[in-house]
Every structure is written in structure tokens, then in C-alpha cells.
Symmetry: C2
Subunit: 301 residues, 2 copies
């Protein structure tokens, strides 16, 4: 049996449109309703055809739903929750895909006090955004973390888990606070570092912008990919997972200071020892199917 | 006319073996002699067949050469130079592919005081090493920076430049000091940051190693690729380009501190402004053919 029959997706960008396409591909009988605050996006989604219906208001999109997934930046979750509050069917489950979970849960609870809320976060994406960027296989083999609030009904969380499995993801369950700590390391800190280094490189006086671009294949270009991610989405992530991000940043800075000292004092053994350890992490990621084994991510040469 | 007729490559790993393969593919009449300190590597190279001859000593490999390219870690350049000093023909040009240039030039000059030395650095590579990792198209469309020492013969630098163009690279000429500053930004700092963050993530107590690996598709896995690069090579780079790396690290740390403050004080505008600027850098890199336009580096999903 399908976990849901009438799914509403609010926010039809990379993640929202990928979910819609994946549902269409794997559960073709499910009826998909979509809404986006941006009229141009709604128009484009009507052309692309991965929703059965696109509504002009958030409220109208949920009237008939048994699942509502919010796929907007985390800072907008509360506002969208408020917009659907009056029209949300009592037995619908509200979920989301936000990259931070504690703040989203708090925001949604405040505006939807009696709704069943089961947040989730698919750990998958690209640097692109908008409805054209999505694709049905985005979640294949990636992990989706479901973070049921304390006291929520296990059956509701299981339906959300089953939904994600159907569209290709592996599912893990975690409490929201731990999610935010884990993702601070595996996603938020990497993005912050990438944004920083790309900023640093663009602000140099002695090295021109054109040199930075020409010689970027030395390693720098890797960082520019994630530093090309959506500014609104990422601003919201940092503001909404502040404590965990600052905590991770603190540790990173300490480790960087230790390496700086090793370089300054010519301590090659410390460098060599770390560089050997980090290799093993890459190997595990490839062995567990979380990255391509091909050299250079399989870039064409 | 071909720039060289008898090329010797010392160090037959990723870069050395890629050069040999590229020469074979683009200048098939050139005779290629190879040497590597590691007997297993020599044996493997004999099987792979991209050298016409593989010698057991460095000296024996250069007796007949008009070009000798040193493709060993930058910390080994001086020792290899000393090994070939007695056998190097007077009219041969000595070049190298080291990732730092001032220290290599100093080391080679000390042991080969009367040789014509024209260092170069192809800004191309993958995270793999060894003779099996190389391929003939590695340098296609990438930049090779030639750093002729002051007072050297322009004709010699031009022959080196022509050699690199023949095997697919674009060539730029720079003085060694400026090279070291530019590459500190576009390559050395990115590697240092990547090694650090992978180290930080592996040393967490609250987040398990298995969690870091499972959810690495959130961004972290991108960093593990370059943090899987050869430890010896990278130890040597940091020890040999110390000043420029420490200078760049200092700026990076300042910028990171500013972002940390913006997060702490909830200053979303500063974050948004930076994240918008960094997007433009990515666009230029793609427009100038220095990275794949495909989302997520073209990883298969
Ligand atoms: N990108 C990733 O890699 C990734 C991965 C996992 C989870 N996530 C999470 O997924 C969510 C969506 O990210 P995305 O990458 O899909 O972003 P996206 O491509 O920018 O899509 C977000 C869409 O939501 C719309 N929107 C913004 N505010 C809205 C509102 N109040 N009501 C209705 N629609 C609104 C946006 O319209 P306009 O932009 O035109 O205003 C846009 O079309 C975020 O919470 C993010 O944290 C992202
Ligand atoms: N990898 C890159 O992305 C890249 C890009 C541009 C430039 N470079 C530069 O290219 C050079 C080579 O790097 P690579 O990536 O090709 O490394 P690699 O794959 O590890 O190859 C280096 C080879 O040199 C051998 N070697 C070490 N010391 C030697 C010595 N004293 N005499 C003779 N052979 C010796 C090594 O043998 P063992 O390891 O078995 O001892 C190994 O086979 C370095 O200077 C590096 O900075 C690298």
C-alpha cells in the first residue's frame, strides 16, 4: 500500500521539484499538488508538468492533502505553516525537507499546534536551484533523516520513512538536536568554509581574479561548486543552526591553528600523519556508495 | 619541428606517467626514458609500456637526453638533481613539475650550477598517485606555468613552453615567487583546508565516524577527494611554500572570523552578500573551461 495518496509540495525548487518528479516516477497514482510563492516558478512548473495541479495560494494547495511537504528555505517554514493553518485537514501529516531541524520544528509547532508534524531532511542536492534543477533520481542511494518529535505517533513517522524509501532514499531516524549537530559537520561547516575561501580568493590584491580562475584546477574549483549554492537557503541554514555551526567552527579553527603551527615550525611528521589519516575517510565514503570512485569525481578530462 | 627528441622523466607517478603517455600520443617519434627510485614502480612501468626504456639509476636515464623532467615530490628535487649531475649532457634542459617553484629552483641551482634549468608546473591532477593513475589527456585545456629564472635564455623557456603546448596545455610564464603566491591561493590553501576539515570531522566524539560517512553527500565528501591526495607530495608542498601558505592562511582566518561573527550576531545580510558574490566566481570558472558545467561535477546520480 502506498503511504500517501494526495501529496502537496510547497516550494517547487530543486528539492520540491525533485520530490514531485520522483513521486511521479515511482508512485504514478499519487496525486501531486504544488504551490510556490513565486508566480514565475508556478508558471514554469505548469509547463514542466510534474504536478497534477499548481495552486496560486498555499492554503488552496493543502485542502485535500494527506501529506504536505514544505520545501522552502528554513527561515520561511514558519510563515508557510501559518499560511496553511486554516485549510490543513486534521488527519494530514506535515513534513519538510529543511537542512536544520530543531528550529523548523519549533517554528511549525508554534503555528500548527495541533497538526502531526514529522520533519525530515534528505541529504542530497546539487549546487543548482529552481524547478528546472530537480530530477527524479536525486535521492537514489542517499540518506534521508527523519526526526520525529518526542511523543509523536510512531505510525506517522513510519509513513514518512516509507515515502522516502519509495522515492529511492535510505532512511535513518534521529532526534532533531543530534541531526543538527551531525549536519553541522557534514554539510554546514563545509559550506561555510567553501564560501569563505572563495571570498578570500576574490579579495586578493597581489593575485588577480583572472589568475584565481585560470589556475583553479589546482584544487580551488572544487570549493566553488558548493559556494555557488543558493544564498537564501544557506543564509537561513546558518542563522537557524547557529549553535552547532559555531561549535564545529571552533573545533575546525583549533585544528587549523595546529596545522599552521606545524607548517611554521617545519614539522613534516604531523602533516604527514594527518594527510595519511584523511585518505582513509575518502576510502570509506567510496566503499559505502556515498561518492563516485572515479578520479576527480569523474570529471571529463 | 619537435621541441625535444629524447625526453627523460624521473619520477613515474601520476604526473610523470601522464607526461610520458601524452608524449607518446602526441609526439610518437620522441624517445622516452624513465627512472623511478622505487623498483616496484619501475617494474610496473615496464609492463605498462609508456617508456621506451626504464633505467635502474637516475644517472643512466639522462646520459642521452635533451630534456630531463623531474616529477618527484618537491622535497626530493635537490637529491635527484645531485644524482644526475655527473651524467647530464651540457646542452640538456632540466625542468620539473613541482607544485612550488622558488624552493625547487634554489635546490636545483645548488646541485646543478651550470645546467639550463627551466622549472614548470602543470596545474592539473587528480587525487590518485602512482604510474597507473596517469593518463594522456590530463593536461588538455589546463594551464602549465613556466617559471624561467632571471637571466635564463628565452629560447630555452620557449622550448619548454612548446613542449607543454604539444601535450595539450595552455602555457603562461610567471616569475617563481609570484607562482608560489598564486598557487598558495588556488591550490595549497584549498588542500590545507580540506585536510583540516576531514581531520576535524574524524575526531568528533558526539558525531560518529559512521555518521560522518553516511551523510557526507551534504557537502563534506567534496573535501575528502582532495584530502585523499598523496601525503608525501603535500607535506613537501607545505614545507616548501611556507611563507605564501601562511600568508594566505592568515587572510582566510580573518575572513572566517568575520563570518563567525556574522552568524553569532544573526547578521543575515553579510552572509547573503558574500554568498551571492561567490556564485559569480563559479560562473567564471565554468565559462573559462576550467570546470565541468554539469551539476555536482557531473557525478552520476
Ligand atoms: N539544495 C540542497 O542541496 C538541499 C538539500 C537538502 C535540503 N534542502 C532544503 O530544502 C529546502 C529548499 O531548498 P531548495 O534547494 O529546493 O531551494 P530552491 O531551489 O531555491 O527552492 C525553494 C523554492 O521555495 C520558494 N519559496 C521561498 N519562500 C517561499 C514561501 N514563503 N512560500 C512558498 N514558496 C517559497 C522559492 O521561490 P523563490 O526563490 O523564487 O522566491 C523557491 O522556488 C530548504 O529548506 C533547504 O534547506 C536543500
Ligand atoms: N598530483 C598532482 O595533482 C600534481 C599536480 C601538479 C604537480 N604535481 C607535482 O608533481 C610531482 C609528482 O607528483 P605526483 O602526483 O606525480 O606524485 P606520485 O604519483 O606519488 O609520483 C611520484 C613518484 O616519484 C617517485 N620518487 C620519489 N622520490 C624519488 C627520488 N628521489 N628519485 C626518483 N623517484 C622518486 C615516487 O616513488 P615512491 O612514491 O614509490 O617512493 C613516485 O613513483 C610533485 O612534485 C608534485 O608537487 C602534482
Amino acid at each position: 500500500m502506498l503511504p500517501f495518496a494526495r501529496v502537496t509540495i510547497i516550494g517547487l525548487g530543486l528539492i520540491g521539484s525533485s520530490i514531485a518528479r520522483a513521486v511521479q516516477a515511482t508512485m504514478p497514482t499519487v496525486r501531486i499538488t504544488g504551490h510556490d510563492a513565486d508566480a514565475d516558478v508556478r508558471e514554469r512548473v505548469r509547463q514542466l508538468g510534474f504536478c497534477d495541479d499548481v495552486t496560486d495560494t498555499a492554503g488552496a494547495s493543502v485542502v485535500d492533502a494527506d501529506l504536505v511537504i514544505l520545501c522552502v528555505p528554513v527561515g520561511a517554514m514558519g510563515a508557510v505553516g501559518a499560511e496553511i493553518a486554516d485549510d490543513l485537514p486534521a488527519d494530514a501529516i506535515v513534513s519538510d525537507v529543511g537542512s536544520s531541524k530543531e528550529s523548523v520544528l519549533t517554528a511549525l509547532r508554534a503555528v500548527l499546534p495541533s497538526a502531526t508534524i514529522i520533519p525530515a531532511h534528505p541529504v542530497a542536492g546539487t549546487e543548482n536551484s529552481g524547478p528546472d534543477a530537480g530530477f527524479a533520481t536525486l535521492f537514489n542511494g542517499r540518506w534521508c533523516i527523519v526526526t520525529p518529535p518526542e511523543g509523536s505517533e510512531p505510525a506517522a513517522a513510519e509513513r514518512i520513512a516509507e515515502f522516502w524509501r519509495r522515492i529511492g532514499a535510505n532512511v535513518d531516524v534521529m532526534d532533531p538536536k543530534h541531526h543538527d549537530l551531525v549536519l553541522a559537520v557534514t554539510s554546514h561547516l563545509p559550506h561555510l568554509i567553501a564560501y569563505t575561501i572563495v571570498g578570500t580568493a576574490s579579495d586578493m590584491e597581489e593575485v588577480t581574479q583572472s589568475e584565481v580562475i585560470k589556475y583553479s584546477a589546482g584544487g580551488f574549483r572544487d570549493f566553488t561548486r558548493i559556494a555557488a549554492s543558493d544564498p537564501t537557503m544557506w543564509r537561513d541554514v546558518f542563522l537557524n543552526n547557529k549553535d552547532a555551526v559555531l561549535e564545529m567552527l571552533q573545533r575546525f579553527t583549533e585544528d587549523l591553528t595546529a596545522l599552521q603551527r606545524a607548517i611554521r615550525w617545519g614539522d613534516g611528521d604531523t602533516l604527514f600523519e594527518l594527510f595519511t589519516r584523511t585518505r582513509a575517510v575518502r576510502r570509506s565514503i567510496i566503499e559505502q556508495g556515498q561518492d563516485d570512485a572515479k578520479p576527480d569525481f569523474g570529471r571529463s578530462h
